[in-house]
């Protein structure tokens, strides 16, 4: 089923919207949540909450990219639960990914929302110039917090290749932000 048809089902309040979403994007939602939460039970509950979140959001939302829309809901819910569970130190992959990026963007004074937006725009512009493979690796690591192993397996690359590419992208991103006067 096409995305717009699924979105229409949500707008029509048809319960098949959820089963169709599950059929088409269920595995992606599990992937997003699974990178943040480890225990199966937590993941499962969060997946169900994501469908519920989508049900509540549409209408009014009519997303252009349904998959990205669902992933954002899933990621936010998973992070909320992660914060709750963090005392039990369930999964550190999230913080590991942010630690890597911290040296590039973390040094910026981005407390103000307007600066954060400028940096985000610059990151988007930078990514547009990158090869699709490099972009995928970057997004999987720093948006989805996927592990190096997971990225390597998904993209048929060696772990050392993934690490090298990430290292180079971070270095280039830092240079790019400097050239844009943001650092």
């Amino acid at each position: 089923m096409e995305d717009y048809e699924i979105v229409n089902l949500y707008w029509e309040r048809s319960e098949t919207a959820i089963s169709e979403t599950k059929k088409k994007y269920g595995h992606r939602i599990v992937y997003v949540i699974g990178n943040i939460l480890s225990l199966e039970q937590d993941v499962e509950e969060c997946v169900n909450d994501t469908y519920f979140g989508a049900w509540n959001a549409m209408p009014d939302a009519r997303p252009g990219y349904l998959s990205a829309f669902l992933c954002r809901i899933a990621k936010n819910l998973a992070l909320k639960r992660y914060k709750y569970l963090v005392a039990d130190k369930r999964n550190k992959s999230l913080e590991t990914a942010f630690e890597e990026l911290d040296g590039v963007i973390g040094t910026l004074d981005i407390e103000q929302e307007i600066i954060a937006k400028q940096v985000a725009e610059a990151v988007n512009a930078f990514l547009k110039m990158k090869k699709p493979l490099h972009r995928k690796i970057f997004v999987r690591r720093y948006y989805f917090c996927d592990s190096i192993d997971g990225i390597a397996a998904h993209l048929n690359l060696s772990k050392s290749a993934v690490k090298s590419i990430l290292f180079r992208i971070r270095k280039e991103l830092k240079k790019y932000l400097e050239s844009e006067g943001l650092m």
Partner: protein
């Protein structure tokens, strides 16, 4: 999540939807190179395993090699840059501190090790110092250089490659996924000469190597290591006993953030000296790598494997690899995580 990461999270949340969609696209399972090349590749890999295969040469002007019958020009590896290092610690008082950094991969979810294997041998290396570290009191440290690893080569014939090792060994490791059915294989071909000193053998294992990766039935690729061109500076290293003490105190790096939970109880399966060779590292320096397992991991591991459809989880074992810096404490400046090289 730490507060300081909140702003990073906010920025990443503003990534364009198109990038998110793109990253989630299913990778097509196409073979990266034609079937005939896969067959040639498989044949070559077999040849390697049997010790009669061959490799490469960027140095096209050297004598030609014949892959078909295994005739090779053994002088080829003489044109590789030699690994230069000081033979002794010059002056302990004047040795400068080196940065020791490690980037965790965030592997492991707690409750079990980060590799699932059927046999402990699945995770065993052919490192010449494996369970043979005795007597090494000093090792050279090299400044990292750009371009440590070549870009990956997928399906490229060895004939077109760049290095040939006259004497070589082949190592293969593997692990399994939670369902027990699929997994990864990694191969390493490295130059090896048992007549050399243990230090030289370790340096050859580290720097004269090709790392292979296999894509199931679909193909393979490899990365080539570029040996350091600078002269290694000799540093004193701790003894195995001192390293074991650090292991038990949890003073180690690991890709598995939870390995520290079992520091006191873990069973050591093997220990070897290993150089970490990642681009982000400021210095290429030795670590004691302990391969460990722990009884407490199995209950959780089997539960997860069963839930993922594995019918015989008890056939599997769980291991982690942890790294104790080998250079003596007074000469290293440990960074918890590495983002960019400082040199």
């Amino acid at each position: 999540m730490k507060n300081r990461y909140k702003k990073l999270y906010d920025i990443m949340e503003l990534l364009e939807d198109g990038f998110i969609e793109e990253a989630l696209e299913e990778e097509s399972k196409i073979c990266r190179f034609p079937l005939w090349k896969c067959i040639v590749a498989a044949a070559c890999a077999c040849v390697l395993v049997m010790g009669s295969g061959l490799f490469l040469s960027k140095y096209k002007d050297s004598k030609s090699q014949n892959i078909g019958n295994g005739e090779v020009n053994k002088k080829q590896d003489e044109v590789l840059p030699g690994i230069k290092y000081e033979k002794n610690v010059a002056d302990k008082n004047s040795l400068e501190k080196i940065v020791c950094n490690f980037m965790s991969e965030g592997a492991g979810g707690g409750g079990h090790g980060w590799l699932i294997v059927k046999s402990f041998e699945d995770a065993a290396s052919k490192n010449p110092t494996r369970n043979n570290t005795g007597g090494i009191t000093q090792l050279p440290v090299f400044k990292n250089e750009d371009g440590l690893w070549s870009d990956g080569r997928d399906g490229q014939d060895f004939k077109e490659s760049e290095i040939y090792f006259g004497n070589r060994l082949y190592e293969e490791k593997r692990d399994y996924s939670y369902d027990g059915a699929s997994g990864n294989r990694w191969g390493v071909c490295f130059r090896s000469d048992k007549q050399e000193s243990l230090t030289d053998q370790l340096l050859e294992y580290t720097f004269y190597r090709l790392n292979f990766r296999f894509y199931g039935e679909e193909g393979w690729g490899y990365d080539i290591m570029k040996p350091p061109s600078g002269t290694g500076k000799m540093y004193p290293v701790i003894s195995l006993e001192e390293a074991e003490k650090k292991l038990r105190n949890g003073e180690f790096f690991s890709h598995d953030a939870y390995a520290v939970d079992v520091a006191g109880t873990a069973q050591v399966l093997s220990v070897e000296l290993e150089y970490m060779t990642e681009e982000y590292q400021s210095y290429l320096q030795p670590f004691y790598k302990f391969t460990i397992t722990d009884k407490s991991w199995y209950k959780e591991l089997y539960k997860i494997m069963e839930s993922q459809g594995c019918k015989t989880p008890e056939e599997y074992k769980s291991v982690s690899e942890v790294y104790v810096p080998a250079v003596r404490d007074e000469y290293i400046d440990i960074k918890d995580s590495a983002v960019l090289r400082t040199n």
